[in-house]
């Protein structure tokens, strides 16, 4: 199908983009890689008055080392993120999870910033941002502010960004040494969204787990952090112990029922996949 008409703006600086977004009002949309937005426009599930296209803001594609953290430009593509040496070294969970997103052509255009801003509960990267305690850097004509991932995802495809705010980058704290990571994604066909996904990072100490971060994809309207598992898994060192800790994975979640699976099925998957993710992350 053909999208409805819209005004098209292609700013050449972040300041111009913020001004365009402020001027265009609430019915404007930011266009990043277009890999979620273009299908919505084509099916006319989105009918914005104006599109502010970030495609030519090359400065937003930069991934840089900022001391204790990496700052990943909002327009860094999936393709770029999963190969970037800094990301592979300091945020390997993000690199691994990004490799499972979509397919090569989609990864050439789709962006990390777009995935996070889109806040699709089935998207893989919001849970990763949550597990890594990432901080979202947003800017508008009113200034810049930083939002912790734990306060960013507020509801189904809804973030705490204001309509005139642009996501400019994501600050990802570097993982020190001794961490193992894994993203366990369950889907039935190649190139498919997660029915449930588990983002997991563990710091090992001898034979046991000293510290763990676990976040779940598609177990509710927003990504959720499985805090009870993070506590229960401390000291665990065997597959049995991981399974016991993972039994709590779905605690407090509200998994959806849809054509891919029922809520009960997802609850079951969350426990099984979390145990697998823990075992794989411990390595």
């Amino acid at each position: 199908m053909i999208p409805a008409t819209f005004d098209y703006v292609r700013p050449t600086s972040v300041d111009d983009a913020c001004r365009a977004l402020a001027d265009a009002g609430e019915d404007a949309k930011v266009l990043a890689g277009g890999q979620s937005l273009m299908p919505l426009l084509r099916m006319r599930l989105a009918i914005p008055d104006a599109l502010i296209d970030l495609d030519r803001l090359d400065g937003l594609r930069e991934i840089r080392d900022d001391g204790d953290s990496l700052v990943i430009g909002a327009m860094a593509t999936h393709h770029q993120v999963m190969r970037d040496p800094l990301v592979r070294e300091h945020a390997p969970l993000l690199a691994r999870a990004t490799e499972t997103v979509a397919d090569p052509a989609v990864r050439h255009r789709g962006t990390f910033g777009g995935s996070v801003a889109h806040a699709d509960p089935a998207g893989d990267l919001p849970a990763v941002a949550l597990a890594l305690d990432a901080v979202l850097v947003v800017r508008s004509v009113r200034g810049e502010r930083e939002i912790p991932a734990s306060e960013f995802f507020v509801d189904w495809m809804t973030t705490s960004m204001e309509p005139d705010e642009l996501l400019v980058g994501v600050r990802v704290p570097k993982m020190g040494s001794g961490w193992g990571v894994h993203y366990e994604k369950f889907h039935r066909t190649a190139q498919a969204w997660a029915i449930v996904g588990v983002a997991c990072a563990v710091r090992r100490n001898g034979d046991g787990v000293e510290e763990a971060r676990v976040a779940l994809t598609n177990m509710g309207p927003t990504p959720v952090r499985a805090h009870s598992v993070e506590v229960a898994v401390r000291g665990a060192g065997s597959e049995d112990a991981f399974r016991t800790a993972a039994a709590q994975a779905a605690a407090g979640t509200e998994p959806p029922t849809d054509l891919h699976g029922s809520s009960e099925y997802r609850t079951h998957l969350a426990t099984v996949l979390t145990a697998r993710a823990l075992a794989a992350a411990v390595g």
Binding site: P3, Q35, M43, P104, A105, Q191
Partner: protein, 163 residues
């Protein structure tokens, strides 16, 4: 209406386009390049895959205005000089198509894969083509064709490694 300047299969075009015009519709309806089909509304099927500045994109997920200043290669730009590209020949020889609807996208995605990996294993071909759906072949012969073309394209002295 914005004016764009885009190189498609070696020819430069300048056109006024509505912002909502998809690149795939520009290619088909303005330039007559109907070799690139549309297979879905969701950017899932990969039938519309082209190379933009040398990398694969689904041309139904890109606006024509976004191709301004870019270089686009469609399946019609392969095999310069009227010949067939080794990838096209391999698809033919290995019977890697039945209805052929997915073929242009498969060929373009395969070239993108070989750009990064000149000698892919069977699994790597399947991974590389995960964004391209085929309803007919069961993929078996597509994988064979890509590996056959890869072998030919690796031969010393070949000129035509990239399209």
């Amino acid at each position: 209406m914005p004016r764009i300047r885009v190189e498609v299969d070696g020819t430069t075009y300048e056109d006024d386009v509505e912002p909502r015009l998809l690149l795939v519709h520009y290619l088909r309806e303005r330039l007559g390049k109907v070799g690139t089909p549309v297979g879905c509304d969701t950017s899932n099927c990969g039938a519309c895959t082209v190379l933009m500045d040398g990398v694969s994109v689904k041309s139904c997920s890109v606006l024509a205005v976004q191709a301004d200043g870019r270089d686009v290669t469609t399946v019609e730009g392969l095999g310069a000089g009227g010949g067939t590209h080794p990838m096209q020949r391999a698809f033919h020889e290995e019977h890697a198509l039945q209805c052929g609807y997915c073929t242009p996208g498969m060929i373009m995605a395969s070239l993108d894969l070989l750009r990064e990996n000149a000698d892919p294993s069977e699994d790597e071909v399947r991974e590389g083509l995960e964004g391209n759906l085929c309803r007919c072949t069961g993929y078996q012969n597509i994988v064979k064709a890509v590996r056959r073309a890869a072998g030919e394209m690796r031969e010393p002295g070949r000129q035509e490694v990239t399209p």
